[in-house]
């Protein structure tokens, strides 16, 4: 679909990882700073889209061999599972729990079940955007 674009391709390779790292940072920062699953997921897919633009669909398909539709399913399972998990502790649907722990290296850290829920959102967002982009891009 496109001609050789050496500069774009080389920078894309480097920038891709930076964006991914940043998106992970944004994802984990979510509860205390701007960010969260939705933005994190979008940014990750933004990084993949950058690869798509720099290379082409087929090349990217060889990198990400898995089916993005399955990612949607896994994400939904995560979110719905966290939501219903509360029922087993006799709490209403979607009740989240959090606790503060002292972890080695990291110090005082809070652990949330909300992160699991957000992971679901993160995965669904990536799955959805990539599924849409791939299907539209592949269609002749």
């Amino acid at each position: 679909m496109k001609t050789n674009d050496l500069i774009l391709q080389t920078t894309a390779k480097v920038i891709f990882f930076i964006i991914i790292l940043f998106s992970l940072h944004i994802f984990f920062a979510g509860h205390y700073n701007p960010g969260g699953g939705f933005i994190g997921g979008l940014m990750t897919s933004g990084a993949i889209v950058l690869l798509l633009l720099a290379f082409d669909l087929k090349t990217v398909a060889t990198i990400f061999t898995f089916d993005f539709k399955i990612l949607i399913a896994i994400g939904l399972l995560f979110a719905a599972g966290t939501a219903t998990g509360a029922l087993f502790f006799n709490a209403p649907l979607l009740t989240h729990a959090f606790e503060y722990f002292h972890l080695p290296l990291l110090g005082k850290t809070s652990l949330h079940t909300a992160v699991l829920f957000d992971t679901g959102v993160y995965l669904v967002v990536i799955g959805v955007t990539m599924t849409i982009i791939q299907t539209i891009g592949e269609s002749e």
Partner: protein, 801 residues
């Protein structure tokens, strides 16, 4: 969650496991695994017998939607226990039978057993629910699972037709039943049947009483295949025979009867109830049996016979309602009607179940069910013949089988109508015994046809697809068990009457009993030279005459033109509604997004501006506006410039990029207004969507000359100006109307304490309003799969073409 709830939900849980078992153990018939569940459940329900026998009840509930009073309430009394035992007991036999009936090599067994288990669970849910809403949910689940079961051989056109028909009719009834339930709950302010029964005195004079009753009866009649809704049942016979035996004779079609019996304590005080239930039932009895005689398909005969037998039970419940109007217990012959209904319900399940299985065996071993081809099977299939004789003679109401006993009680109930002096039954009531007698003549007739046309006469081997021989033992076990029950109940009916019938009758007619009192039922085969006995003798005589002269008078069936049958009306209705909706859809679905947007925008403008004017909602308050800085002016200018560029752009690339520019500028606004989360999201979304645009840019056509020359169109201009104006007006009045204090203060105060986070937006997303997010990602996923489906489907179709 109690053990009882677990019992209701266990079939659903098992349904999840079945496909895995099917995949893992291909060598073993999946039915063997499934068989365990109904047996365990049957044993589990048996232990409640001593409890209900003392007229005690068990109630266990878990909350479902507590704010609306909707709960999952499991409630056991005599009636629900009787049905639970039928469902699990017959269920076990049917599963056993199906193991031999459905070949594990050729059939997709995992589908079959998943549907069957789903059905079993739904049915248990129906009979064990005390809450109307959960009852309704399970009720519709039975419709859905029966739809799947009827359409099990979906490659056959008749199966799909039958499945659709049953679905349409029963769901139509189910929806009107839901309406009735809601009216009931309005009157009594509760969804609990128990509590409603307690409030009968207030409810029965309410103006909504009759509408609620009629709506609910519609549900019961469609499910139980009463006239004129019975037309789906014969077509449902396209299902595999185990399904017919289970759903269409023993359980699902009796859900309507269950409902009528269950709600009798509420409605039976009304004359309308007595008339509607009684007349519809007795007419269904007559009509079903009359039409059964002309069928040539064995399963067709049984289908119509089921219709008529359901009518019989229904009419008994209608007549039995009269018991509530005569307040003396000892000599109350209307109680006998209700009693007969319960007794016949059990008997019908036993003999009809065995007959269906018998027909399945005949079909399986000869390859046909057409009585014109069958005959003389008696010598080759002696065991099947015995089953057929027991079942049919019981159905015909001949001694010494159980059908005889309940038939006599049925006559007693019908004759007792003549003694009634309420609701005009003293005059028109004669209808009941007369129709009952005629119906029974035809019942006798088709029962005889069923046995003698199939098993006696000449064996026409050349017309059969297979060489007939006796069925394997496994296939015979279930019908043999049922047939022996027919005989046992015939000789010792009272083993049922103390344990099951008394408690069931007590729960249908609770108001007749004072505390501590119980019905005493004693069924005896010999009841003296009563009118009932003479009715039976005369019907046998007439029936034999009619059977012998069958070929001479069956021409009367041809008298009724095809164009007047209910089936014809149904088919015509389907065709017409399909054509009508096609035409309607074609006029407004043009295929252009432009048109659809026009609809949306016109509605948008119309409804919102109407509300603004009508509610006098527009208000402009400029007192507390924030100062406008240089940045805002620049950004606003950029947005306007970007939008104008889209309008005048000559190429798509320019318009896409300027659309992106507008988006980025909006996110800058978010930055200025200190909403970093929104800004981030907006930025990334803008990037991804512009990239998406660029990706599919290749496939978009160039802006065509025609579009370029399109120029100015008045209606488009009006619509866009209208949308802009309405939005601006709403924005201004939203700013000026401060009806409530802002909710943000709540979040500011609670975000850290309750959810342990500092980023309010994120906490709202995952915690305070996590339900929204959960469904949003569901919507997103559906959208993605939708796009995938649309594009991929189009591709494959193009390849085929």
């Amino acid at each position: 969650m109690s053990l009882l709830h677990l019992a209701i939900f266990s079939p659903f849980l098992a349904a999840v496991v079945v496909p895995l078992l099917y995949k893992a153990f291909r060598k073993i018939h999946t039915g063997w695994f499934v068989l365990i569940l109904p047996i365990v459940l049957f044993a589990y329900f048996l232990q409640f017998l001593p409890i209900t026998q003392n007229n005690e009840t068990i109630k266990k509930s878990i909350d479902w939607i507590p704010s609306l009073g909707i709960e999952l309430t499991a409630y056991i009394d005599g009636l629900s226990l009787l049905f639970s035992l039928l469902i699990t007991g017959i269920g076990a036999l049917v599963v056993l039978y199906s193991i031999y009936y459905l070949s594990k090599e050729k059939e997709s067994l995992h589908n079959f057993y998943v549907y069957l288990l789903m059905f079993m669970g739904a049915m248990l849910g129906v009979v064990l629910s005390d809450n109307l809403i959960s009852l309704y949910m399970f009720w519709e689940l039975t419709s859905i699972s029966s739809f799947l079961l009827i359409g099990y051989w979906y490659h056959k056109e008749r199966s799909r037709y039958g499945a659709q028909k049953s679905m349409l009719i029963t769901v139509f009834g189910g929806l009107s039943m839901l309406g009735g339930f809601l009216l009931l709950s309005l009157m009594g302010d509760t969804f609990s049947i128990r509590e409603l029964i307690g409030q009968v005195d207030q409810i029965k004079d309410h103006s909504l009483f009759i509408p609620a009753m009629l709506l609910i009866l519609l549900g019961a009649f469609t499910k139980s295949a009463q006239f004129p809704f019975y037309i789906w049942l014969p077509d449902a016979m396209e299902a595999p025979t185990p399904v017919s035996a289970y759903l269409h004779s023993a359980t699902m079609v009796k859900a309507g009867i269950y409902l009528v019996a269950r709600l009798s304590p509420i409605f039976a005080f009304s004359g309308v109830w007595m008339w509607v239930v009684g007349v519809v039932g007795i007419f269904t009895l007559f009509w079903g049996s009359f039409n059964a005689v002309k069928q040539t398909d064995l399963k067709g005969i049984l289908a119509f016979s089921t219709v008529s037998q359901l009518g019989l039970i229904m009419s008994l419940l209608g007549v039995g309602a009269a018991a509530l109007h005569y307040d003396y217990l000892d000599d109350n012959y209307f109680v006998i009607a209700t009693l007969a209904a319960v007794f016949h319900l059990i008997n019908h399940a036993t003999f009809k179940g065995s007959l269906f299985m018998m027909v399945g065996i005949v079909d399986h071993e000869t390859g046909t069910r057409d009585i014109r081809k069958l005959g003389g099977l008696m010598s080759v299939m002696p065991i099947t013949f015995t089953i057929a004789v027991i079942g049919s003679f019981s159905m015909a109401g001949l001694p010494p089988f159980n059908g005889f006993l309940s038939k006599e009680m049925f006559f007693t109930g019908m004759v007792s109508v003549l003694n009634m002096d309420i609701f005009h039954l003293e005059t028109w009531g004669i209808l009941f015994p007369v129709l009952a007698w005629i119906g029974s003549v035809f019942t006798f007739l088709y029962s005889m046809i069923l046995v003698f046309k199939t098993f006696t006469g000449k064996l026409k081997v050349d017309q059969l697809e297979k060489k007939p021989h006796e069925a394997p033992l496994g296939m015979l076990i279930s019908p043999l068990i049922l047939a022996s029950l027919v005989v046992i109940f015939g000789f010792f009916p009272n083993i049922l009457s103390y344990t099951i019938i008394e408690p069931a009758v007590a729960s249908i007619l609770p108001s007749l009993l004072s505390p501590g009192e119980a019905f005493t039922v004693h069924i005896s085969a010999w009841h003296g030279f009563t009118p009932e006995l003479f009715m039976t003798l005369s019907l046998i005589a007439v029936g034999i005459v009619l059977y012998l002269t069958l070929s001479k008078w069956t021409k009367i069936y041809d008298l009724m033109p095809d164009r007047l049958t209910l089936n014809h009306f149904y088919d015509r209705g389907m065709v017409l509604s399909e054509r009508g909706s096609n035409r309607l859809t074609n006029t407004y679905m043009t295929g252009f997004i432009r048109t659809y947007l026009v609809y949306i925008f016109i509605f948008f403008i119309g409804i919102l501006s109407y509300t603004l004017v009508y509610k006098d909602a527009f208000k402009m308050d400029t007192s507390n506006l924030a100062p406008i800085g240089v940045y805002e002016i620049i950004l606003a200018f950029l947005i306007v410039a970007g939008s104008v560029t889209i309008l005048v752009a000559k190429s798509r690339l320019t318009s896409i990029i300027s659309l992106g520019a507008v988006g980025y500028t909006v996110s800058l606004f978010f930055v200025i207004f200190r909403a970093p989360d929104l800004a981030l999201t907006q930025l990334v979304i803008e990037t991804v969507s512009v990239a998406l645009f660029l990706l599919c840019f290749y496939h978009l056509p160039q802006i065509s000359r025609k579009e370029e020359r399109m120029g100015f169109k008045l209606e488009n201009a009006l619509i866009s100006i209208g949308v802009g104006a309405v939005i601006s007006l709403i924005a201004i009045s939203a700013h000026s109307n401060k009806l409530f204090s802002s909710i943000s203060q709540y979040y500011i105060e609670n975000t850290y304490d309750k959810a342990g986070g500092k980023n309010m937006v994120n906490v709202i997303l995952v915690d305070f309003r996590g339900f929204d997010t959960l469904f949003e990602i569901c919507v997103l996923s559906i959208a993605a799969l939708g796009i995938y489906g649309m594009i991929k489907l189009r591709l494959t179709r193009r390849k085929e073409g």
